[in-house]
Amino acid sequence: MAESHAIHHHPALKHHFDNMEQQLEAGTIGMWVFLLTEIMFFGGLFLAYVIYRAVYPEGFAVASNTLDVRLGGFNTVVLILSSLTMAMAVYSAQTGNKKRLLLFLFLTLILGCVFLGVKVFEYRSKFEHHLFPAVGWYDWSHEPTHNPALASQARVFLWLYFAMTGLHALHMVVGAGMLVFLMFFAWRDKYSPEYHAPVELGGLYWHFVDIVWIFLFPLLYLLGFHLGKH
């Protein structure tokens, strides 16, 4: 009895699942439960942002204006484009196109690296302008034209900026490693229209990181944008 069942099974089907659909469904739910813990992980920082923004609206708007909206906007476009290429990678896996799967995974990896490159550039400029809120912080509260209260408020904003974008960038680095892993096994013909759960679940992770940035961009970069226009 066991043999007559076993011969029809896909080699990637684990014995505790009835069929491939059930296995993918279980994997998808598991991935989503992980992503929900990630929402709560980032959620603490978002909560801190909401509270301090309400307490220090002026300092937050001033500090937000030290960020470059063009670079943030460029990175937003890059990341959404990388979500498109990741979605196309999943599509290529589902339709069994190995060449395209490898191409789209590679494009996603390149776009992720472009994002991180821009981030490094932005961080370096913050260090150069002494806006990193720890080592090398330039205490401009002593400048006669500046309000000392505003400077310490701005410092809270910059701390949150580095914490939130830093945690996000760390997720991007993990995602890049995941893409290399997927490319290796795609190249080894491990994925087929019947079995490509790692590509599918890796896609969920990549899109989640994109969603975090979709919220970070307006909250961090656009907050004081209208003030710079005066």
């Binding site: 929900l36 929402i39 709560m40 309400a54 498109l84 979709i214």
Partner: protein
């Protein structure tokens, strides 16, 4: 129940919508809506961000075609996140020292 394959055309339409919404949020942020009503700039920016995130979740992440169980789990998770923000702010904003509080 076999896996639902979302077409490349739908992915492109969603991508184009996300690009339009990104341009829209930058455009909206260049206006001083705070003169009309204090939190209006933030409300507009967050509304656009929620629409963008919903598009990504429903189509790029295939949740529109996922099982009911998966959908319920996601909604429950987002609900807990809303509790985190809403209950904490309800506490802070009703304290006497809170900026803008009447007392």
């Amino acid at each position: 129940m076999s896996e639902h394959i979302v077409s490349a055309r739908i992915y492109l339409v969603i991508f184009a919508s996300l690009m339009v919404l990104t341009a829209l949020t930058v455009f909206a942020a260049s206006f001083d809506l705070e003169h009309i009503w204090g939190p209006l700039n933030a409300i507009v920016a967050l509304t656009i961000a929620v629409i963008k995130a919903t598009l990504v979740v429903l189509y790029f992440m295939h949740v529109r075609y996922s099982s009911r169980l998966t959908q319920v789990i996601i909604v429950a998770g987002i609900f807990w996140f809303i509790i985190l923000i809403a209950f904490t702010m309800a506490d802070y904003m009703t304290r006497s020292g809170w900026p803008g509080a009447g007392a």
